[in-house]
């Protein structure tokens, strides 16, 4: 089977313009007769629902939260990239395109990424017009900051809450359409299945999470914008409710799942503090600009620190191992996310970890405080300042730069990071993989589309900072409004979708059976979270920052066994016809287990290291990632065949006509 990515003809920089000019349209009178379902109301979903509503389609939007404003896009901190070149520092659409392709370790599609870079500038215009309060300079113009892995300043931001501000902008546009009646909003509803009629997506089965009512919703097209699946790992920086079920249900109905093993693990998160831990908190990457990462040189010292017998501040300089500076002298603490994460894991695996769980490294600001303090003393004209004075002045500078992050750290860990080094450890943050889509963002199921983190399209094997917001909004505001017409132009004569069709009947029955099964297991007393934690442990240990064939094979077996046990024994209290968060969780975890298995299969199949995917067997002599372009420059699209274990791999070859494939080096 060959996948048709439907990339338009023509030179790279003309593809999107040509495609837009030739794409089929639906006239306004006909749009009124066409229904579209949007699942998820994050940046991609809210922007898509608002845009499609404005265009005249009848939209039904679904979210599991109590309001569309709560989607997890809201938690994005740093910013959003756009090739505006306001700073006149040589940025361009091509440069943003190139940085994204390279950052993704050459595992994404040129045409999609170029389009993303092309529409990025419009996003900023749009958001400003909506009243998004981006940071500004004193002259009143928009401010930019720079982000990891690039040489220009192209990141627009609103303090550390860029995701929140952009999401609230999209939410306001959505609210406007809800008020107009063009979008009907279903809060606290969860999509439980895609309904297929004549091999086309014709609607969904949804459950009202308050009453438990199972509902049928018909539509001429279904748009999934349901986010990523990082919560397969149980512990991640995702929200508690973030789940992969919508995507997985789509996969089971014929949508291929692409590159499931590409997971981004962010190096600077607050470490796990104990078994009670429910989620992990990200500390902005910007901290690595000034913090130095280290562990003790001597394993005995690490043990003493773990036992609370030794304080890190008492360990002299010569007994510390600044391992990133040692291994990567030219980039030091500023190596990319994947490299920094793996290096931390390597040290902790060797027994040098520094917190009670042994899974943490230090991020130390003592040097930065003294350095800034001396500069500040010079600025203030203080001759021969005392150590104390320097420290005091330096602390103030660091506080001005990172005060809010330090305060958040102190709130969670109850340690003062100005006095004792911060502890950090990598955590699952984002999933580059997702539902396979063509250039029009349509999945392998006709009439089913996927946007934002839910699809696989733009980030290859590793996403650059500040690009997730860009992709979500690009897909929702500027891509799907055009490309959905290509499909819907054929639907103008279809008429209203009949939800009494036998396909709806069958889907609903299946959903009800699943719920019944979960509520009526043998129930040995283990809760959903117990199984979720088990799954997370397997995934983290064997399909996390470093993977190998043996571990992955074990993981696949372990997950299969866990799945079996789950379906037999999981204990789900309460009933089906009431508000029952445990039941909601149980259904999500059931899907995570299958998805986790597929992730391991994908990781096993991809015998190379690239981006967030590191196979221990494929590394250079120095322990760096070894990409194998000859064999693996393709997208792995998995086709469902009745069980995740039987999934069939379909390869979409990646053709690079505009960039040259190079090996990244940070030595």
């Amino acid at each position: 089977m060959i996948l048709d990515s439907k990339i338009p003809e023509g030179p790279l920089e003309r593809k999107w313009q040509n495609h837009k000019a030739n794409i089929r349209l639906v006239n306004p009178a006909n749009k009124r007769n066409i229904d579209v379902i949007v699942v998820g109301t994050g940046l991609a979903g809210a922007s898509a629902a608002a845009s499609l509503g404005e265009m005249g389609y009848n939209v039904k939007a679904f979210c599991f939260q109590d309001s569309p404003r709560r989607a997890h896009s809201i938690a994005a901190q740093g910013g959003i990239n756009a090739a505006k070149n306001y700073q006149n520092d040589g940025d361009s659409v091509y440069r943003l395109f190139y940085d994204t392709i390279k950052g993704g370790d050459y595992r994404s599609r040129e045409a999609n990424v170029y389009r993303l870079a092309e529409v990025s500038a419009n996003i900023i215009d749009q958001a400003v017009a909506q009243g998004v309060p981006f940071a500004r300079e004193y002259g009143g113009n928009l401010d930019n900051r720079s982000f990891g892995g690039v040489q220009v300043s192209r990141t627009f931001y609103a303090k550390g809450q860029t995701g929140q501000q952009l999401l609230l902008g999209a939410y306001s546009a959505l609210s406007r359409q809800i008020a107009k009646g063009k979008v009907k909003m279903y809060n606290r509803h969860e999509m439980l299945d895609i309904v297929m009629v004549d091999d086309k997506a014709r609607g969904i089965i949804a459950r009202n999470l308050v009453t438990g009512e199972i509902q049928r919703h018909g539509a001429h097209a279904v748009v999934l914008a349901s986010g990523g699946y990082g919560n397969v790992f149980f512990l991640s920086t995702n929200a508690m409710g973030s789940n992969g079920s919508a995507a997985w249900k789509a996969h089971k109905k014929g949508a291929h799942f692409a590159n499931p093993c590409f997971t981004q693990i962010h190096p600077t998160c607050i470490p796990v503090s104990g078994d009670h831990q429910s989620k992990l908190t990200l500390m902005s990457e910007s901290l690595r600009n000034d913090g130095r990462i280290w562990v003790p040189k001597d394993r005995k010292d690490a043990e003493a620190i773990r036992a609370g017998k030794l304080k890190p501040t008492d360990l002299p300089e010569e007994k510390r191992d600044y391992y990133l500076e040692r291994r990567y002298p030219s980039f030091g603490n500023l190596v990319p996310r994947d490299v920094a994460s793996r290096a931390a894991k390597e040290r902790c695996d060797e027994g040098y970890g520094v917190n009670a769980t042994g899974e943490a490294v230090y991020l130390d600001f003592a040097d930065a405080i003294m350095r800034y303090g001396r500069t500040e003393a010079n600025v203030q004209g203080i001759d021969n300042p005392s150590e104390e004075k320097i420290k005091e002045l330096g602390t103030k500078v660091v506080e001005a730069k990172y005060g809010n992050l330090f305060a958040m750290y102190e709130k969670i860990v109850d340690d003062n990071p100005y006095q004792t080094p911060m502890m950090i450890y990598p955590a699952v943050h984002y999933t580059m993989g997702g539902i396979w889509v063509d250039y029009n963002l349509m999945t392998s199921v006709p009439g089913l589309f996927a946007l934002g983190e839910a699809n696989f399209s733009d980030h290859g094997a590793n996403r650059l900072g500040a690009s997730a917001l860009m992709q979500g909004l690009a897909d929702g505001y500027f891509v799907i409004p055009y490309t959905i017409g290509e499909y819907l132009a054929d639907e103008i004569r279809t008429g209203e979708i009949d939800t009494n069709h036998e396909a709806f009947e069958a889907s609903e029955k299946e959903v009800r059976e699943t719920i019944d099964k979960l509520l009526n297991t043998e129930g040995n007393g283990k809760s959903v979270d117990y199984y979720h934690k088990q799954l997370g442990r397997i995934m983290w240990d064997k399909c996390g920052m470093a993977r190998n064939a043996q571990g992955l094979q074990e993981a696949i077996k372990d997950i299969e066994a866990l799945r079996k046990e789950f379906w037999q024994n999981v204990r789900v209290p309460g009933g089906a016809n009431e508000m029952n968060p445990e039941l909601d969780k149980a259904m999500r975890v059931a899907d995570f287990m299958e998805l986790g298995q597929l992730m391991c299969m994908d990781a096993l199949e991809r015998e190379e290291s690239c981006g967030g995917h590191f196979r221990e067997e494929f590394q250079t002599e120095e322990g760096e990632a070894l990409r194998r372009d000859e064999e693996f420059a393709f997208v792995s699209a998995w086709k469902y065949n009745g069980d995740p274990g039987k999934a069939e791999l379909i390869k979409e070859d990646l053709v690079f006509e505009n960039v040259e494939l190079k090996t990244r080096s940070y030595k």
Binding site: S67, I123, Q130, G131, L142, V413
Partner: protein, 250 residues
């Protein structure tokens, strides 16, 4: 640490609720308040009892989904902190903790500690936006300079997470801080000024229809707001409302 919990249990919107007592042992001081609730629910499930329903999602203080009136205060005793960021080390071994839902006519209880804050959505739908289509065919983002002070002030108002602590804290269950934050954000920016008059009239009207109480400038809202939204926003909205009412031809 060991704790006594007094938790509001209510089967649904129409049933009567009551405080129920629970004992919980071996709570880690490092766990967050919601992780303590997770632990309680695990124990309840194990015992075959009905776990407590509470709203939560991001657990990093930004989504606004978590609520909980803890020991007489929205989001508990720590200032500028959502319930999900509150940690158990703020409590002492042997403490008794009252846990109640937000209470307001406009926020009916859905189940246990979970309330329906749909009123906030409807207020935003009544005018909390700039009426601009998402075509991308707008002015260049830098075409209209915005004074930094105004942009910063708008941002500060826009950091509202819509959690409803302001309503929960207000003795009158008024939603003025929430509404005024959005009115302020948009009225401070040139993009929002065009329809500022209609916006404030419509949003205040919707707020009243939802059954929130009146603002008597008590100030509890701003004190309890996890994002420290200022009372200045309420004054600004009053100003906008007064001006819009006088100028309105309706």
């Amino acid at each position: 640490m060991d704790l006594k919990l007094k938790i509001w249990r209510q089967a649904n919107q129409n049933s009567k609720g009551e405080l129920k007592d629970y004992n919980i042992k071996n709570v880690s001081a490092d766990s967050s308040f919601l992780e303590m609730m997770d632990q309680l629910n695990e124990e309840l499930i194990e015992k075959g009892e009905d776990p407590v329903v509470f709203d939560h999602d991001c657990r990093e203080g930004i989504c606004g989904m978590c609520s909980l009136h803890i020991n007489g205060e929205p989001h508990g005793p720590e200032n500028a902190t959502t319930t999900c960021q509150l940690h158990m080390r703020k409590f002492k071994d042997g403490d008794t903790i009252f846990i109640e839902p937000w209470r307001a006519r406009a926020f009916p209880v859905v189940k246990d500690l979970s309330v329906d804050r749909g009123a906030f959505d409807r207020i935003i739908q009544s005018g909390g936006y700039v009426s601009v289509n998402t075509s991308g065919n707008t002015l260049d983002a830098n075409a209209l300079p915005v004074p930094k002070a105004d942009a910063d002030e708008a941002f500060n108002a826009a950091t509202c997470i819509g959690c409803g602590a302001c309503v929960a804290a207000c003795p009158n269950a008024s939603a003025m801080l929430f509404v005024s934050a959005k009115v302020s954000q948009l009225s401070l920016l040139p993009q929002g000024k065009v329809e500022a008059k209609d916006r404030v009239l419509n949003m205040v009207n919707q707020m009243d229809l939802e059954g929130f109480g009146n603002c008597s400038n008590v100030g509890a809202c701003a004190e309890e707001c996890p994002k420290e939204i200022s009372l200045e926003n309420i004054a600004r909205m009053n100003r906008e409302y007064l001006g819009a009412s006088l100028a309105s031809s309706k």
